[in-house]
């Protein structure tokens, strides 16, 4: 805390030129940029392995896209409920904000459940980390690592959103939790954005 801020409690600490609303927002953006490098590296490596492999199985035939198309739609819907939560909080309606935060977390929880169902189905069909009946063994390894890394992000996001639910509940002034909910929203939309990439490169292409 700077001297100026402690001398005048009403004065905010020096603001960041990038995100005037809060330092936390800049922090989340920088974290997300780092996280995006992680996902970008995984997907680039996937592309490299697939392009240079002679017996890469066809993802469309092995994985199928019916269930994942539903999962994609679900995640897009949960992004919409997230922006609605923030919109209602901005209008001062905490009850509606909490409802939409809950719906967002619910969407994420259903997404992870569907992913668990999909994994079980594929493992029973013979897809393993080290081997599979269709071709290159790296197919299974890359599939489980990339979708698993994303699934962990969704699981973490559900916990994050539920903690935001508590955060909003504990603060009677809607303005007091606006920045925190917006920052949580950034994380959630990022998880949606990454899934758009994963769905395209691992299922459709």
């Amino acid at each position: 805390m700077s001297q100026a801020a402690s001398a005048h409690p009403a004065v905010e600490p020096a603001e960041t030129p990038l995100t005037p609303e809060s330092w936390g927002k800049l922090g989340m953006w920088i974290f997300l940029a780092g996280d995006a490098v992680g996902f970008g590296t995984l997907l680039a490596a996937y592309g490299g392995m697939r392009a240079t492999s002679a017996d890469w199985p066809s993802p469309y035939d092995v994985l199928g896209i019916n269930l994942t198309a539903v999962m994609t739609f679900l995640l897009i819907c949960s992004s919409v409920t997230m922006v609605k939560a923030l919109e209602w909080l901005g209008r001062g309606d905490r009850a509606k904000c909490r409802l939409f935060l809950f719906l967002t977390a619910l969407g994420g929880a259903i997404f992870v459940s569907l992913q668990a169902y999909e994994w079980t189905h594929l493992i029973n069909a013979g897809l393993h980390i080290g081997r599979n009946p269709w071709g290159a063994s790296l197919f299974g390894a890359s599939f489980f690592i990339i979708t698993g890394f994303h699934g962990l992000h969704v699981s973490g996001g559900v916990i994050y959103l539920l903690s935001m639910l508590r955060y909003v509940t504990n603060r009677p002034q809607p303005e007091a939790s606006y920045n925190a909910v917006e920052i949580a929203g950034l994380y959630w939309h990022f998880v949606d954005l990454v899934w758009i990439m994963v769905f395209t490169f691992m299922y459709l292409l």
């Binding site: 030129p17 990038l18 995100t19 005037p20 609303e21 809060s22 800049l26 953006w29 920088i30 997300l32 940029a33 780092g34 995006a36 490098v37 996902f39 970008g40 590296t41 997907l43 680039a44 490596a45 592309g47 490299g48 392995m49 392009a51 240079t52 492999s53 002679a54 469309y60 896209i65 198309a69 994609t72 739609f73 897009i76 819907c77 992004s79 919409v80 997230m82 922006v83 609605k84 919109e87 909080l89 901005g90 809607p174 303005e175 606006y178 920045n179 917006e182 929203g185 950034l186 939309h189 990022f190 949606d192 954005l193 758009i196 990439m197 395209t200 490169f201 459709l204 292409l205």
Partner: protein, 109 residues
């Protein structure tokens, strides 16, 4: 106060764009065109969708340009990385192909 001056784009319109683009993506893989064309189309559609999410849901459109630069840096790094990995991958593929061909060739004695 941030809460009052923050612009809210039409979120439902963005939702419909995303839903329609997803349907288009699925339609593209059944199109009777070359694999390369499908690949390019899918990449373009994915980047468009990701762009919509970042610009409107994550409000990047209403942020400073420097924050946008921070956001696109990982995309540039990942794209470059593909081209860094590929030559090495092709070299390994070529080498192992030769070994495989040798191993599967009938022994001449």
């Amino acid at each position: 106060m941030a809460t009052t001056e923050h612009k809210h784009p039409n979120y439902m319109a963005i939702f419909w764009y995303l839903a329609v683009l997803t349907v288009v993506e699925i339609a593209v893989i059944f199109m009777p065109v070359g694999k390369l064309t499908i690949g390019v189309l899918l990449c373009a559609l994915a980047v468009t969708k990701a762009g919509l999410v970042a610009m409107y849901f994550m409000h990047l459109r209403f942020e400073t340009r420097t924050l946008g630069l921070i956001a696109v840096t990982p995309l540039a790094i990942a794209t470059l990385l593909v081209f860094v990995i590929l030559p090495d991958g092709f070299a390994v593929a070529k080498r192992t192909e030769g070994v495989k061909a040798e191993a599967s060739a009938p022994a001449k004695h």
